[in-house]
Symmetry: C2
Subunit: 332 residues, 2 copies
């Protein structure tokens, strides 16, 4: 059986070009003892993948030039030599960026038994959702009534973060760009503020206008002017959960940090970075809390879907153009 | 009775000039019920006072132009209408920058009964020492064996921080400038690294040379290239206690933050600012732990002393020129 998969042909500087990605096809080896073969139905593309294209080991190994790219995917088992998995099982695994995956069964997990669309396990009930929940609850120590600011608030992570925060009763403000993203936020009771055309001072003033008393928690996905405005508008003893800094991921050289970093001292702020893989043991607890609310519609989620394996690189690149609302997915 | 005291005549931009400070003399009012009169013997000058000269409320009210400046001082009660204090008592209070202080007795504390020179209650056993202890233990969560990096390591705060860290058994590296400061550090078993003439990359390499395995804790007093080099050399799950950023205190405009701030994410760092006044309830515990070690010589401290009230502004300004080793004091 053939598998079609994407590779990169270089470690790009700056924003990757579409030509970086190459589609290849190869015959799969005979299934070994313990392996399973999966027909992927949905692929995830995520901002963190840009870091794996740098050739540098950070918290995760870099992608290897010419080798299949990796990423979260869901699919259906079509052949199994692992006794725990049978043909027809719906599963999640990390052998994405391809149509047919073959890997050891112990790297594959069966999807939980909740009445939700399978692709939600790549989004609101997957790594992005778990990242939102962990950042607010485990890193920022969100409490009832906290005023919460979220950047990239309509993205895969941010769109759950704002809803989890809103349920705790404080003022929740989301920063986003495009009008449809702002509209999505407003329709969920979130104060939406556009970063477009604003420097840090203007963004600060816009945030102060909607939340004059300031924020207890900042959920950081972006960096740049968003971080600077957040430092200006956090209250004393505010907490920052640093999930990402997408503004820098395609930077060709060092970008200066916020000029108001001394606010960390003046306001006794706590800023903490985290990587979701370190917290995965909390996943069952997250799923128990958030899963039923997704199933009954109490928590909403948005998706932006590209159709067909060939469009995977385009879906990935769209993340940095900011054209997705909610989780960016590829349907095979 | 006359009191001589210093005022400022402006809110300075950049490095304050000597002419900012004016010495005045005024007749004290008759002692009111509950008040005490104190002949100050030692005055403290501290970097945080620069923030009170900005005209802006940060974590503490700004100084008032034309009014007596304030700061920690020790002295002897010479008149008392507070039943808890009697003439001859050695005390500490915040009515510094003057020779004779008069204030309510409930703003005055008697010095503890430990066999140490009285001025140590302005330094190693006072606010700076308490700041070192709190930053390492309460903010950074220092553990046995941690490798610890301290900037401004020969200063009033840093010189205790390095010794407290050293006692926990890991590698301790102190950043300082002048040769005599580096020598002081080396004589106490601390790896000393000069920041002079080094950019962030060169300082990073110098730190890596003396502590190749990296740091668990960074005690931040400086900002600038020190922070950038620390972000480069901290280990995964490292903690930064932000006590001060003296590099910026006299800046005339915003200074960009570190260009490698994404290290907070990549290395899952926790950076936390703190203000010692929030933690003062821990002072008895600090004193119980550190006091006996200062008394028996196990913990050393350095002092730089200016003589006479008139030299108080010069002592203060010397903090920013970096000419003091250990605690900067004025002896009256």
């Amino acid at each position: 059986m053939q598998s079609r998969y994407f590779t990169i042909n270089d470690f790009p500087q700056g924003t990757p070009a579409r030509e970086l990605f190459e589609l290849h096809e190869a015959e799969l080896t005979t299934l070994a003892e313990g392996e399973v073969r999966i027909r992927n139905t949905w692929l995830s593309v995520d901002p963190y993948m840009r870091g794996r294209m740098s050739g540098v080991k950070t918290y995760i190994d870099p992608f290897v030039i010419g080798e299949p790219l990796e990423g979260a995917a869901v699919g259906e088992v079509i052949e199994s030599r692992d006794t725990r998995l049978t043909v027809g099982d719906k599963v999640r695994h990390m052998a994405g960026w391809r149509d047919i995956a073959q890997l050891p069964g112990d790297q594959v997990e069966a999807l939980p038994d909740i009445e939700v669309p399978e692709q939600t396990y790549l989004g609101v009930l997957g790594m992005p959702g778990m990242t939102a929940w962990t950042g607010l609850n485990r890193i920022a120590g969100m409490r009832d009534g906290d005023n919460v600011l979220v950047s990239a608030a309509s993205g895969a992570v941010g769109s759950l973060a704002v809803q989890l925060a809103k349920a705790r009763g404080g003022t929740v403000v989301g920063i986003a760009g495009a009008p449809e993203k702002l509209a999505w936020l407003e329709s969920h009771g979130i104060q939406a503020v556009s970063y477009r055309g604003k420097d840090a001072q203007q963004l600060t003033e816009a945030l102060q206008a909607v939340c004059p008393e300031g924020f207890d928690v900042y959920y950081e996905n972006v960096g740049g002017v968003c971080l600077e405005a957040a430092l200006n508008t956090l209250r004393v003893n505010g907490r920052i959960a640093v999930c990402g800094m997408i503004a820098r991921y395609n930077a060709e050289g060092p970008m200066p940090g916020p000029s108001n970093l001394p606010m960390v001292l003046i306001k006794r702020l706590r800023m903490q970075g985290f990587i979701i893989f370190d917290h995965w043991s909390d996943y069952p607890r997250f799923l128990e809390e958030v899963g039923p609310k997704v199933a009954n519609g109490e928590i909403d989620y948005a998706e932006t879907v590209e159709e067909g394996l060939e469009r995977t690189p385009d879906a990935f690149l769209a993340l940095f153009a900011g054209t997705n609302t909610g989780k960016m997915l590829v349907r095979l």
